[in-house]
């Protein structure tokens, strides 16, 4: 929709002097659970080689479809069972955390940098630059994001980095919209006018005066986008246009798990999905909390 957001006033937290800003983080409701989940997943991702009991990409066909250890037929060799070519599910889940983390964070950063830059340019320069960027944003928004991503993935072929670039290229629009709206109101404020009078170039104003003021909003949006991006990556991998096999990605594991679904090999479907949900849930909870803390303007979003 083309209804611009209401003029934003600077958030109270951002206006506080630095020490009190830190104190604001210590108030009640600190999101221990999501932080714990994300830190655990990050540690698993970083130290996957040390933690994972087996090679995630090589299995033995003699060990196909072994159930988790606590079920008859399972063994402590493979705590969470094995898949259709005998690969250890737990090892694949651990290495899968690396894929999800990498794709999630990189895509969010690319989308954030691109969208924030375009949003600032569009909002501050106005005129034809604004028109071009906003019409482009409208067009992008008219394409259903996931469909567009599938479409682009089919063009460039499956690879981890392609997915990062595609998701970045698809999801920048939200940043551009929101940040443009914020810049529109910021540029009418005295500190920007004073900077103009003091002879700052447009570039300096955008970099030194506007960018720091929209950073909070960009961070909140990034956290909220993390969940969306991770689900999108899983969906693309599930459809076979994301991370290529035999790489252990959670979405890919779900696609493989579908082969054993009708035979009742539930662990191949349940565990990767639980991992995705945990990570997305953690990102959403953290995003909600940050939104309230950092940027009251975004509460209605």
């Amino acid at each position: 929709m083309s209804v611009s957001p209401a003029p934003a006033s600077p958030s109270p937290v951002a206006a506080l002097p630095v020490p009190r800003r830190v104190a604001a983080f210590r108030t009640e409701g600190f999101p221990m659970l999501p932080i714990a989940i994300l830190v655990t997943l990050a540690l698993l991702a970083i130290f996957a080689e040390l933690i994972a009991p087996h090679n995630p990409e090589i299995g033995s066909l003699g060990q196909r479809f072994k159930p988790p250890a606590w079920i008859a037929g399972g063994s402590t060799q493979h705590l969470l069972g094995t898949d259709h070519i005998g690969r250890d599910v737990m090892s694949r889940l651990i290495f899968g955390a690396r894929v999800s983390m990498m794709v999630g964070f990189m895509a969010v950063i690319i989308a954030g940098v691109l969208g924030s830059a375009l949003g600032i340019l569009s909002g501050y320069l106005g005129g034809w630059v604004d028109q071009v960027i906003m019409r482009l944003t409208d067009t992008w928004l008219a394409l259903p994001a996931l469909t567009f991503a599938i479409f682009l993935a089919a063009i460039v072929g499956p690879s981890e980095w392609n997915i990062v670039i595609i998701l970045g290229a698809v999801y920048w629009t939200r940043y551009a919209r929101v940040i443009r709206g914020e810049v529109l109101s910021l540029k009418e404020r005295d500190f920007v006018r004073l900077a103009i009078v003091a002879g700052c170039s447009k570039w300096t104003i955008m970099r030194r005066h506007l960018l720091p003021n929209v950073a909070n909003t960009a961070i909140v949006l990034a956290t909220l986008m993390l969940g969306v991006v991770i689900v999108s990556e899983a969906a693309l991998s599930f459809l076979g246009v994301g991370v290529p096999p035999p790489k252990p990605a959670w979405g890919l594991m779900l696609a493989d798990g579908k082969k054993g679904l009708m035979a009742g090999y539930w662990w191949l479907t349940v565990f990767p999905g639980v991992c995705i949900v945990l990570m997305v849930l953690a990102a959403n909870l953290l995003g909600d909390w940050l939104r309230v803390k950092l940027d009251p303007q975004l509460r209605q979003l």
Partner: protein, 306 residues
């Protein structure tokens, strides 16, 4: 008002133009479709002949010109793969997509509205807290995983529902649930906040002061007004559902538009991909335009905005 309408219509037209160029260009860098269409080991002459037949040997500008001219006439070209007009293919799949979307929407509203209203009426109570958890889960669980879990439970263990395909009303239950799950959570959130706003309004206070029973206040005065934003969102979401169902359609082998697009990409069937994405995008552009205009009619402040 007239200027506002003209401006918004012009924006929508520019969006549609950019959309058609974007899709047209992107689709042509996906690779050569003829390679996938011929038998393996076909001669270069055969390939050239096929390229000529499909019009792929002409310049891009000419191809785009032809594409737009046909588009304006309502001709989306012929599928390279099926060799039938794309519009026919699209229309043959549309009822399936609509049926799935309507079923998913009905489900999401049946869950979302009552639970959202109850959460608002007893705000802070156990129902409200359970609702919050449900909404968080709904927004965090990918639809295709929900679909897989449903298959596991209802098809594999219980054997009650068919795991894939279409044809009977039973086939639509699980795909609709999987697709509607996310939207149920979104509708619940909105129903709750909208109801809370209405319950704090002056006319609800008046209704209470008149001595009406709480049930009557909620049912007669608050409920209907709280419903307006939810139904607006539902209208937008219905269009969205038709266009985001591709993953759910893949899980359940549901023959809708999402599958058509997916197959089109796999076979490099340019006309199919172009038509599906353009028609989907156009639906969204038009819906957004209508909503913008409706808002302007309701709220005059928007009209004078820059």
């Amino acid at each position: 008002m007239r200027r506002f309408v003209l401006r918004r219509v012009a924006y929508a037209a520019v969006s549609l133009f950019l959309l058609s160029v974007t899709i047209f260009l992107f689709v042509r860098v996906t690779g050569d479709p003829t390679v996938l269409l011929v038998e393996p080991g076909a001669s270069k002459a055969d390939l050239d002949a096929l390229r000529h037949e499909l019009g792929l040997d002409r310049s891009l500008a000419v191809q785009y010109g032809t594409f737009v001219r046909d588009l304006v006439r309502g001709d989306f070209g012929r599928s390279f793969y099926y060799r039938t007009p794309v519009l026919e293919l699209y229309i043959s799949r549309l009822p399936n997509s609509l049926m799935l979307a309507v079923a998913a929407m009905a489900f999401s509203l049946l869950i979302g509205i009552p639970s959202g209203i109850m959460a608002a009426v007893r705000v802070g109570g156990w129902w409200d807290r359970a609702g919050k958890i449900f909404a968080l889960l709904g927004l965090s669980m990918p639809s295709f995983w929900v679909g897989l879990l449903l298959i596991l439970f209802f098809s594999v263990y219980l054997g009650w529902l068919p795991s894939s395909g279409s044809g009977t009303p039973l086939h639509v239950i699980m795909p609709a649930f999987a697709l509607g799950w996310y939207f149920a959570a979104a509708h619940m959130r909105l129903a709750r906040s909208s109801m809370l706003e209405v319950l704090g309004s002056e006319y609800v206070k008046l209704a209470r002061l008149k001595g009406l029973s709480e049930a009557r206040v909620i049912a007669k005065h608050a409920f209907k007004n709280a419903l307006i934003p939810v139904l607006t969102l539902a209208g937008i979401n219905l269009v969205l559902m038709v266009n985001v169902a591709v993953v759910v359609e893949t899980v359940f082998a549901w023959p809708g538009i999402g599958r058509l697009l997916y197959e089109g990409i796999a076979f490099r069937d340019f006309p199919v991909v172009q038509a599906t994405v353009i028609l989907g995008g156009s639906m969204i552009v038009v819906v957004n335009l209508v909503i913008d205009l409706l808002y302007a009619v309701i709220d005059p402040r928007i009209r004078y905005e820059r």
